[in-house]
């Protein structure tokens, strides 16, 4: 399944900015790439170019050696022949068809008996088998999303594109579906590209992340790496100053969960209902640095370490501490000077449990 999607495109809008994107993405079944960027950065434009709904004004798109679009030669593969499943932000289910009709829509070339079997199979996998006779208007937000996913997956696409998949849902549903969607994408066996501007969504869904800003792609890498080590100031501003430590939930007790991230043990508020792999996220301004001496290191969320880097940012100083994992703290210049925070200095990094946000990577059931 080792295919590559390569994209080097430009699209101009009459009254808007120019969207540019240049990136090479290896695609594997079940691998989720997050296209992350602020609004106006052209994420959705890139998605539409990939789906074949728009043509690039310059540049080309190649998928596994096949040219999908080339502005120089005018070559263009229409959406019908790309084998791409697209999930719209508001799901765009056909209101005049039942769920079964929606899921079967892309299977019109398939013989009738085979089509019915495929609809049942996909519906089963998406957990909507009992909803097949309903109209979209009679579905909840989460059911609509699964129906839309089933519709996109039924014709066995080579690539799945999702445009802000959770933004059309209300907040409680969104919380619940994040983990579920990740598991569905993983089990689909189809490489997926998810567009989002939501950090939690990016963390929960993505394996790899492409940061898009005005002017083009700024950084590509594993999600937690991009969050923890932004390539430049602009990426840092886009993704936020956040420590993201990959780990796993080791224990849950009294509404708190303990995450083991390498040598670091962090206690945070239990996100509920989930276990296994998780990210522990701490904003840099929530990390307090103290003298290593006075307290024992056994207390909760007290991480002894050594300063490895110091970066001045106006009135603030960004200090990287190696506590077994790399943790970035944002402190005032005054306290940085008072503590003499220079590389090599031993310190204790302290984080309050409510400041540790735990983002589960997979639901307890199904992986």
């Amino acid at each position: 399944m080792g295919r590559t999607l390569s994209l080097d495109v430009e699209r101009r809008f009459a009254a808007g900015p120019v969207v540019r994107a240049r990136v090479e993405l290896p695609l594997q079944g079940g691998l989720v790439t997050v296209l992350f960027g602020p609004s106006g950065s052209g994420k959705t434009t890139v998605l539409r170019l990939l789906a074949g709904l728009d043509r690039p004004d310059a540049g080309e798109i190649r998928m596994a050696g096949e040219t999908w679009a080339d502005a120089a030669t005018g070559a263009f593969v229409p959406p019908q022949r790309r084998g791409v499943g697209l999930l719209f932000q508001d799901h765009a289910l056909f209101p005049h068809l039942t769920v079964a009709g929606n899921v079967a829509f892309g299977l019109s070339a398939t013989p009738r008996a085979e089509r019915a079997a495929r609809v049942r199979e996909v519906a089963q996998r998406m957990g909507i088998a009992e909803l097949l006779d309903r109209r979209p208007a009679a579905l909840s937000g989460g059911q609509r999303q699964r129906a839309a996913l089933a519709r996109a997956l039924a014709p066995r696409p080579r690539l799945l594109l999702l445009d802000e998949p959770l933004s059309a849902l209300d907040a409680p549903t969104r919380e619940r579906l994040r983990g579920e969607l990740r598991a569905l994408l993983e089990s689909s066996g189809v490489p997926a590209i998810v567009v989002t501007h939501d950090r939690t969504e990016a963390l929960a869904l993505g394996d790899r992340m492409v940061v898009l800003a005005q002017g083009g792609v700024r950084q590509v890498g594993p999600v937690h790496e991009v969050f923890s080590a932004p390539a430049d100031v602009e990426v840092a501003r886009i993704v936020g100053t956040e420590n993201v430590l990959p780990g796993r939930i080791a224990a849950r007790e009294g509404g708190l969960a303990t995450v083991l991230a390498g040598a670091v043990v962090l206690v945070g508020v239990d996100p509920g209902g989930l276990e296994g792999e998780a990210y522990a996220c701490v904003r840099a301004e929530d990390v307090v640095l103290e003298d290593a001496a006075p307290h024992g290191s056994s207390a909760q969320n007290r991480l002894p370490g050594v300063v490895v880097a110091r970066l001045e940012e106006g009135p603030l100083v960004r200090v990287a501490v190696d506590c077994g994992a790399r943790l970035v703290a944002l402190v005032t210049r005054r306290s940085a000077d008072a503590l003499a925070l220079v590389p090599g200095r031993a310190v204790v990094a302290r984080v309050k449990a409510p400041s540790v946000r735990i983002v589960p990577r997979a639901p307890a059931a199904g992986g």
Binding site: A51, G52, L53, P78, P79, Q80, R81, R82, V84, G85, L86, F88, D90, A92, F94, P95, H96, F105, G106, S108, A109, R134, R135, A137, A138, R151, A152, P155
Partner: protein
């Protein structure tokens, strides 16, 4: 009432409506989706019969399709008789005259269909034509039906253009509205009254139907 005229009127209205659905739907679809700058010009041409006196349209048709013109010879070669004072000529004139009454509701209904549904159909492998029949038309049927009903009613009641290109040939071009005119001319007010009452009732019922259709967007599908 002049039953022959009634039959003729209904037949003319039926054929005109059919022709308008066949010709008007593609035209309306083009108007609803195009980004061409020609759109405004085409829209204006389609809307012309609303403001133009029917006699003007009739006059130009008579001149344009006169037996000596190329179009007139083509018409005669195709149908075996000249354009003026024939039922076929009347049909051509009716289609042009009722064009806006069909195409405008068609275009409004078609452009009311969510563009993303069309795009979703494309990514699911449906050709533009298949998408039109499987997604766009089923979602716009109320507007298409309203347009067809309106075109039918408008054809039923047309007068000026019929008089110009059709004259008053019984069984060929004498429609209800022409018959009414004649009944009044002959001072046969009882017959005129029946004809007028019929046209009034028919028009009223049609407008009730059109308004009811426009109130209900996909009623059978969204309600459960």
């Amino acid at each position: 009432m002049d039953l022959q005229a009634l039959r003729l009127s209904l037949w003319l209205a039926t054929l005109t409506t059919l022709a308008l659905v066949l010709l008007g739907l593609p035209l309306a679809h083009w108007l609803a989706t195009t980004r061409s700058r020609l759109r405004f010009a085409v829209e204006a041409v389609v809307a012309l019969p609303i403001v133009l006196p029917p006699t003007v349209l009739g006059f130009y048709l008579l001149v344009g399709l006169a037996p000596r013109t190329a179009a007139g010879r083509g018409f005669e070669a195709l149908l075996g008789h000249p354009f003026p004072f024939s039922f076929a000529g009347l049909l051509v004139a009716s289609v042009l005259y009722s064009l806006p009454f069909a195409v405008q509701p068609f275009a409004a209904a078609l452009s009311g269909v969510d563009r993303r549904l069309v795009e979703a159909a494309h990514t699911l492998g449906a050709s533009p034509l298949a998408t039109f029949f499987r997604v766009t038309l089923p979602l716009a049927w109320h507007g298409v039906l309203a347009g067809a009903v309106l075109a039918f009613a408008h054809t039923l009641g047309e007068f000026g253009v019929v008089l110009m290109v059709g004259g008053n040939v019984p069984g060929e071009t004498r429609t209800l509205s022409i018959a009414l005119f004649e009944q009044v001319e002959a001072l046969d007010y009882a017959a005129a009254n029946r004809t007028a009452a019929f046209l009034l009732a028919a028009s009223f019922l049609v407008l009730v139907a059109v308004h009811a259709l426009q109130q209900r967007r996909f009623p059978r599908w969204d309600a459960r």
